[in-house]
Amino acid sequence: MTATSLPTGDLRSALHGLPGVDKVGVEARASMLATRSIKTTAKAQAIDLAIRMVDLTTLEGADTPGKVRALSAKALRPDPADPSCPPVAAVCVYPSMVGVAAPVLAGSGVHLASVATAFPSGQAPLDVKLADTRDAVAAGADEIDMVISRGAFLSGRYDQVFEEITAVKEAAGAAHLKVILETGELGTYDNVRRASWLAMLAGADFIKTSTGKVPVAATLPVTLVMLEAVRDFRARTGRQVGVKPAGGIRTTKDAIKYLVLINETAGPDWLDPAWFRFGASSLLNDLLMQRTKLTTGHYSGPDYFTLD
């Protein structure tokens, strides 16, 4: 199958021509990889890498400028007590908060991501979604996390989803585009694989699992399927696409399982914040706690780590 060379009219046959995903098999593989035992030096490297991969996120109705400023400061210096601790990859906020975070992050190398396109449901007219995107970029976001219309995808209107992504990509301009598939609403791994390819074909720079707003967010097997998709897509087209699991990843142990998954599926090329991110909030403090444990040999209580 040469999906990229196909006109969009053939999207359906291209996506349905992808090899199926066996549910039992993919879940067994993910749970086997989750048994990898990452210790000592490997663990220390993994923790620092995971910190550098965090998109530190707040997406609440209750977000205020004060909350977002605090989060942005934390992104720059996650552990004020230890200058060797790296900053996170990005801060991820609602469009209305981009203007607040931008001055804090300016020039730091920490990216500023904004959700857009009627997050989290995606149920808005296209022009509203595009305006949402342009506003976020104008306010200073250099990464856009858009949602696909799951309704359109599930009813087989692949062209519509494709065109929306292309349009948002154009509206986002130079900003990196992460496409949220909301895998918890797609129902099957076959759909996850198809949606991944659809997003990549339409120009996504990243494919992302979830909004964090539905009951099932990122899981290991879903991320495994997406990692297979970006691996296969690069093999076929030469273009590398990143992966971002989001929601539900709270502990260092969880994060390390994802790093193992990358290492043994897509390969070490993806072990880089440019190609893999964790959409998370509470994960960061657990990573910091484990990092301190490894360097000092003892655990410190939660009061020794800053609130976001």
Binding site: R36, A42, A174, A274
Partner: protein, 487 residues
């Protein structure tokens, strides 16, 4: 933004995520300097001894008694004495012992897993996550049958046979013991079991589990030794039933020696299973299944998927994915929790794998292995595949019993079935397709005791296991497994 996300040329992070060694602690198991025979509820020293080694290091683990004819006599006599009272117990009482054994195995599973990996060479991940849970599950499962035999479909009052002589192989030492002992005990038989010469330790530890469970003396007897000990045991006039798992060659000898006696016989022998990948297969999971089919337990699996049949229309794609996956296999220290492929069980087996692989290359098949550093000591063989293999190659006909895969192709489902069945063996087969009707149609035509669909090497105590043709006869596991031990 694009500048901040450079596309990496090459792999600047190749060394970034080397997993540090994560060894399971050896100190959880205490191996004595020597072991005797377990006869009539007690260990006694035999006259002669032999050594058992750790195949990963060639280090001698301990000395074990070599049972001679008199020792086998004593063991059979003990089993005969125990047979009457044991079979007279109500099934519910026998079940209690089996449940107790199952629970003790669970409690001691870490110790037994480490022991198994030390003596056999298999990765701790497999002994911990596959062997030991299945061992306990088999005892739990047959414990449940012990008081329900009248409802198993073998008549209203099925009777035990008496004494079962059981000879097991070295590839799954404790699991094969469980497959043999659990149904025998549940049905009211007593046993004399001979573990393989190179892997006697877990059976001896199992003897200790029996003592801990206060199993009556003589119900389980363990005699260690090599081929001669096994021969004395299966030819002993005092046994009523012979159960053997191992090579077809030895199985044939046993069948000959049992012929003309009243002994009942079940044989679980070799295999050369076809693993068939159709063009509509879920490719990534099929690749996992191929890897699991042939590299699980170093390929020391009688039902291993050692003949891969790929439909020609997806041959390149599947082969490329398979090779890529094989480069991620981690070969090395069996006690490292991240090891995927451990040591070959013995020098003799390694020699056999090398010989057949050399024959494969000489006969014109293309040999390929991923780059792979093997330890200096011990018995090791890199995961290997051969392409360009035809039905006429020896590596497509003979059981290698190692991490060596022969890759063949086919064009149509009919050709796949024909090639899959074109073997003297018939233990297992695998089918990979997303099409349910094809699974049913093909499985129906395959002459193999176990047919897996979209999975491979999946075992469960409720499922019968056994062969067609030269792979043996009789079934182990499930309700069917009771039949071999009931009159």
């Amino acid at each position: 933004m694009a500048a901040a996300h450079p596309h990496h040329e090459g792999n600047p992070r190749d060394d970034m995520f080397e997993y540090a060694p994560a060894p399971e602690s050896r100190s959880v198991v205490e191996i004595a300097p020597s072991y005797g025979l377990f006869i009539d509820g007690a260990f006694d020293a035999g006259k002669d001894t032999f050594k058992t080694v750790n195949p990963a290091t060639e280090e001698v683990l301990t000395e074990v008694a070599l049972a001679g004819p008199e020792d086998v006599d004593r063991a059979v006599a003990a089993a005969r004495r125990a047979s009457g009272p044991w079979s007279a117990l109500p099934g519910s009482e026998r079940a209690k012992y089996l449940f107790r054994i199952a629970r003790i195995i669970q409690e001691r599973s870490r110790e037994l897993a480490v022991l198994e990996s030390l003596d056999n060479g298999k990765p701790i991940r497999e002994s911990r996550d596959v062997d030991l849970p299945l061992v306990a599950a088999h005892f739990f499962y047959y414990a449940g049958w012990a008081d329900k035999l009248a409802y198993a479909g073998f008549g209203p009052e099925p009777r035990p046979l008496g004494v079962a002589a059981q000879v097991i192989p070295w590839n799954f030492p404790l699991l094969m013991l469980a497959w043999k002992i659990a149904p025998a005990l549940a049905t009211g038989n007593t046993v004399v079991l001979k573990p393989a010469e190179t892997t006697p330790l877990s059976a001896l530890f199992f003897a200790d589990v029996c003592r801990q469970a206060e199993l009556p003396a003589g119900v389980v007897n363990i005699v260690t030794g090599a081929g001669d000990t096994g021969r004395h045991l299966v030819e002993h006039p005092g046994v009523h039933k012979v159960a053997f798992t191992g090579s077809t060659e030895v199985g044939r000898e046993i069948a000959g020696s049992v012929a003309g006696t009243a002994k009942r016989l079940t044989l679980e022998l070799g295999g050369k299973a076809a693993n068939i990948v159709f063009d509509d297969a879920p490719v990534d999971q099929a690749v996992e299944g191929i890897v699991n089919g042939i590299f699980f337990n170093q390929g020391h699996v009688c039902c291993a998927g050692s003949r891969l049949l790929i439909q020609e229309s997806v041959y390149d794609e599947v082969l490329e994915a398979l090779k890529r996956r094989m480069t991620t296999l981690r070969v090395g220290d069996p006690l490292d929790k991240n090891t995927d492929i451990g040591a070959i069980n013995s020098a003799a087996q390694l020699a056999r794998i090398r010989e057949l692989s050399d024959v494969g290359a000489q006969e014109g098949a293309q040999r390929w292995s991923p780059p792979c550093e093997l330890p200096d000591h011990g018995f090791w063989f890199a995961p290997t595949l051969f392409t360009g293999v035809t039905q006429a190659h020896r590596i497509a006909r003979e059981e290698i019993f190692g991490p060596v895969l022969s890759v063949l192709t086919f064009r149509t489902p009919a050709e796949a079935v024909e090639k899959a069945n074109n073997t003297p063996y018939g233990l297992s087969a695998g089918i990979w397709t997303e099409k349910g009707s094809r699974i049913l149609a093909v499985a129906d035509k395959l002459r193999a005791g176990v047919v897996w669909a979209n999975t491979f090497n999946k075992f469960d105590p409720t499922s019968p296991f056994g062969g067609y043709k030269e792979s043996g006869y009789g079934r182990e596991g499930g309700r069917h497994g009771l039949e071999a031990y009931l009159a």
